[in-house]
Amino acid sequence: MIAAWLADKGRLALALVAAVAFQTVVTSQLPILGVTADLFLLLTVLVAISRGATVGLVFGFVAGLTADIVFLDPVGLRTFIYLIVGYGVGWYVEEFGLPSAWMVVVLAGVTSLLSQGVYGIFQFIMGSAGGFMAMTRLQVLPAALVDGLLAAPLYVGLVRLRILPRPDAADPSFR
């Protein structure tokens, strides 16, 4: 029982370490639509979808803390945002289920949009000058699109690597 629990958490930790390497080596070097995908946020969303709110929020906390260190952001900022994301997405899926694979894309996109929004509000509070519309056009919307589109292949990959459980095993109605 303990061994299974450790193996399960070990897989998630491994996924996070892989995300650090991938984010640093690949994603940050190859911007799409002028923005880079946020693998830490995507992992949080996918873990929350497949493991529920409790694991989602703890994973979000750890992933956010890692992102703060990797992205050189104020420590605690992404930690706060991602744990909310992990909890929120996990709660949503527990309440309403995951009827289709498209929901993964939609949830990742919407989550990215909201978390970018919160991040933006923090930037404005900290005194960043700039236009709301311009940043929405140049950062928030492209990032939501990129994160949303990347969520599906990442989800498939993580399921195939057995890091996340198959969705249809838990929900037979999943298409």
């Binding site: 940050s28 070097q29 960043s128 236009g131 311009a134 940043m135 140049l138």
Partner: protein, 312 residues
């Protein structure tokens, strides 16, 4: 779901939210040498070699992508330019005016390589190995750190080799805001928190102001008195005030001059000499204030702190 599980989940949620907020608060309260900054700096030092390696590995692909993109654009651009040429042929008078303006600008641009930056400057050339993950901030990571003589607040300038006599690619890039052993973080001048004391060159009354970064990636020269005359296409250079950037580093060209009835200052849009979207190599001025140049009192510069942030 059992009530006990729900209660436990809420407890974990509240505890983690509280921890995150405490971390955030502690990060802003602690000095740059504090625990959280140190942890972040360690991560920075561990990841920067990986990033440096990745940057080199990805470079050919990026070049290939850029090349194919340029090729695709070339055809349509050719047609566009042919049309433009036809139109220009009918406008000889305007061209003559442009030629005269060009002569004037050329005389300003005769700064040439050695004279572009303050005399006696020494440089450390560095590769850009990473960029800010969002456009809320504008910074790059370079592959030179304290081991190479890079220190906090040192100015960074472009190292792009120009194809003509212009200053293109050779202007001010930003300043070092965080430094590790083999890597450093450079805040670009287009970052919303960046501010550089500047002066418009060539104007008789030398209008001075502050060049600030604007989201998304633009430069605005503010605090220029309204009675000062600012012409378009004039060169904006650092004024040397503020003690980080020495006097005379080119920043960009005056692109537009705005005045509002409610504003006591002019607002000048400046087009930077450096194209920040293709920044690959930069030079760090490791002795930004040589004798006889603009910074008069180095002793007043704040003591160096690693991983510190803030505008000029």
């Amino acid at each position: 779901m059992p009530r006990k599980t729900v209660a436990r989940r809420r407890l974990v949620f509240a505890a983690l939210v509280l921890t995150a907020l405490v971390l955030l608060s502690a990060f802003f309260r602690e000095p740059a040498t504090g625990v959280l900054h140190s942890v972040q700096r360690s991560g920075f030092d561990v990841l920067s070699p990986l990033q440096s390696l990745a940057s080199r590995a990805v470079q050919p692909f990026q070049d290939g992508y850029r090349w194919s993109k340029d090729l695709m654009r070339a055809n349509s651009r050719n047609r566009e330019m042919t049309r433009e040429l036809e139109s220009m042929r009918g406008q000889l008078v305007l061209l003559e005016e442009a030629r005269q303006e060009n002569d004037r600008l050329k005389s300003l641009l005769e700064l040439k390589d050695a004279d572009i930056f303050p005399k006696g400057s020494t440089f450390v050339t560095a590769r850009v190995i990473g960029r800010s993950p969002t456009r809320w901030q504008e910074w790059v990571q370079i592959d030179r750190g304290t081991a190479d003589g890079v220190a906090l607040n040192q100015p960074v300038v472009g190292a792009t080799i120009p194809t003509d006599q212009s200053l293109s690619g050779k202007g001010l890039v930003g300043k070092v805001i965080a430094v590790g052993e083999h890597a450093a973080q450079v805040q670009l001048i287009i970052d919303p928190e960046s501010s550089v004391a500047a002066v418009v060159q060539g104007a008789s009354d030398r209008p001075e102001g502050i060049v600030e970064g604007m989201i998304p990636g633009k430069l605005l020269m503010d605090f220029v008195e309204r009675d000062k005359v600012v012409e378009l296409k004039r060169i904006v250079i650092t004024s040397g005030f503020g003690q980080i950037f020495p006097k005379g580093i080119p920043i960009g060209l005056v692109e537009s001059v705005g005045e509002e009835d409610v504003n006591i200052y002019k607002q000048i849009e400046v087009r930077p000499f450096v194209d920040f979207s293709i920044l690959e190599e930069v030079m760090v001025l490791t002795n930004p204030a040589p004798a006889g140049e603009a910074v008069e009192d180095m002793s007043s510069i704040a003591p160096q702190q690693d991983m510190g942030t803030g505008g000029q």
